[in-house]
């Protein structure tokens, strides 16, 4: 116990004495955390929209005014023809064309099938995709309103209101991005810093002086892991406070549960960092390995791109992606506020990875060269 305590003390002394490491560990992540959510914002405003109205009914006028009232759209009014609309779109003046067919209102009232044409300028795919969802949202809300007034329409409108954004009702992308970035920062502390720290000791030879002592492998492992585990937890908690104060995202679920899950996730990342450090013989190698895995984890984790849009084989890779499991846990606890039952599977996956990686790290760590 004394041995582990002195190793922890040593690690903290070194971290706080090394001014650059300090900045890398604390200031850089916080700066990124404060800047990144604003730049990685998927929210689209000022979508230019125009209408072609073959119906010219009171209903179409109502719908058009709804779009005018929405903060997301700039209403360019009614255009006379399809040809003119396309010309405007080619000039990039218009992102969306909404086309109402003849007898639109009549078909709705008589519950005939009818179609609203939505044409999107898909040069900017994100704008086109999100814009389409906004358009459907506005239409959905409109039909919800009129079906409340007129129960006869309710059956018809069900079809139009399928797009409702659960748990992120205002389509606020900060709610997804901020926790995602928090996860990335915790991952970096866990895997990167641990791997580099141990490999550095290999490079400068201090690890040999430790290995020549009767210290046991697990003591050395704990002496390295506990300090970085504590730093990771502190950083996560600071991140949560910033998330609340700066971005106004409060945690819907249980905070102790969230911290417990983070603790397990950090164990996975520390184990990974430790394992990489036994494989790599210098800091450069360690960095490349961590970097490769890190990019893989991030791209597949659903932090920046929706998992639903990935091909099936990619979802299989995600079974081995701790970040993906932790992303689900964090979103579930912070945004949905669900309890342990709904993240059991993810917890089991992370706990299994933690055990496997740390065992592998312990087995592969050599206090004796071959």
């Amino acid at each position: 116990m004394r041995i582990i305590l002195i190793l922890i003390k040593k690690e903290f002394l070194q971290v706080f004495r090394n001014s650059l490491l300090w900045k890398i560990l604390v200031l850089a992540p916080l700066a990124e955390f404060l800047l990144f959510p604003f730049t990685a914002d998927y929210e689209i405003k000022n979508v230019n929209i125009a209408f072609i109205d073959h119906d010219k009914s009171s209903m179409t006028a109502d719908i058009i005014s709804k779009f005018g009232a929405s903060p997301y759209f700039i209403n360019h009014g009614i255009l006379s023809s399809r040809k003119e609309a396309e010309k405007e779109m080619k000039r990039d003046n218009i992102d969306f064309i909404i086309e109402f067919p003849t007898d639109f209102e009549k078909d709705i009232v008589t519950q005939e099938q009818t179609v609203i044409g939505i044409t999107a300028n898909a040069i900017n795919t994100v704008k086109a995709g999100l814009g389409t969802e906004y358009v459907q949202n506005v239409l959905g809300n409109y039909f919800m309103e009129i079906s409340d007034e007129n129960p006869v329409l309710s059956e018809q409108t069900q079809l139009l209101t399928t797009n409702v954004y659960w748990y992120n009702e205002q389509m606020n992308y900060k709610n997804l991005i901020v926790p995602g970035i928090l996860i990335i920062l915790v991952t970096l502390i866990g895997a990167y810093v641990t791997a580099l720290n141990i490999v550095r000791e290999k490079e400068i030879g201090t690890i040999e002086q430790i290995n020549v002592t009767p210290i046991k492998k697990w003591q050395f492992l704990l002496g390295k892991m506990i300090p970085f585990w504590i730093l990771g937890m502190v950083e996560f908690i600071v991140g949560l406070v910033i998330m609340y104060l700066v971005f106004g995202i409060s945690i819907q679920g249980s905070i102790p549960l969230l911290l417990a899950m983070t603790a397990v996730y950090l164990l996975v990342m520390l184990g990974l960092g430790f394992f990489i450090s036994s494989v790599a013989s210098n800091q450069l190698q360690a960095m490349f390995i961590v970097f490769f895995l890190f990019i893989l984890f991030v791209m597949l984790s659903g932090v920046f791109t929706p998992i639903e849009g990935m091909p099936e084989w990619a979802t299989y890779i995600n079974y081995f992606n701790p970040m993906s499991f932790f992303m689900v846990i964090v979103k579930t606890i912070i945004l949905k506020g669900s309890g342990f039952e709904s993240i059991q599977e993810q917890f089991i996956a992370l706990a299994t990875m933690a055990v496997i990686l740390n065992t592998a790290a312990l087995l592969s760590y050599r206090d004796k060269a071959k």
């Binding site: 002394l13 070194q14 004495r17 030879g205 430790i210 020549v212 002592t213």
Partner: protein
Amino acid sequence: MKIPFISHTAEIKDSPYSIEVKELTKVYGKFTAVDHLTFNVKKGEIFGFLGANGAGKTTAIRMLCSLLQPTSGEATIAGFDLRKNAKSIKKNIGYMSQRFSLYDDLTIYENMQLFGTVYGIPHKELKNRIFESLKILNLEDKYKTLVYSIPLGWKQKLSFATAMLHRPQIVFLDEPTSGVDPIVRREFWNLIYEAASKGVTIFVTTHYMDEAEYCERVSIMSNGQLKLIGTPTELKETMQVDSIEKVFVKFVDR
């Protein structure tokens, strides 16, 4: 030519030797770094381990300190079998590597406290021992100094003191005086004599042939093999030269 090899027939229990090495070998692929090394070192002896660069000295030392897995052969260090009892060996030996390997970003005291604690020395006792050895080194008032800022000579003496904190039976010194000035070298050898006078076995490699003269016995390694072993006087007589340096040059030239 008569080469004075020392046989190793003694029983382990009341062995007069603290290091017994038999056919110790390290092979890397096709390269044999250490080739069937056999020798003994007496308890309390200052044993010089000489050899040209790349002769295999460091490889041999690292095997004896249980930092490197031998390919074949046996060794008994401080009465413990190298293959079976590495942990017991580690408790009883001190090691000072070729490279300075204390923590640069810790103070003198913090370094000594770290290593002393790892060896299980009780807190109060450790504190006494640290200040005792710092007093000998004249570093008492520098105990709060970060190690990176002290000169190389001090660093080497500090490494030695740290390696001696747990009062090992044997201390392995791998080129402890390379790169330090003659005054510090002399001071360092005083420390070595001091330790040897208390019964500590000193196993030291060096490139300075004047230092080899200070050893009770020396051995010369070349291409992974132990070529010569004996007291400096014996070696000089055998080779019919007047200094160890000439013995060495004669050997390495072959």
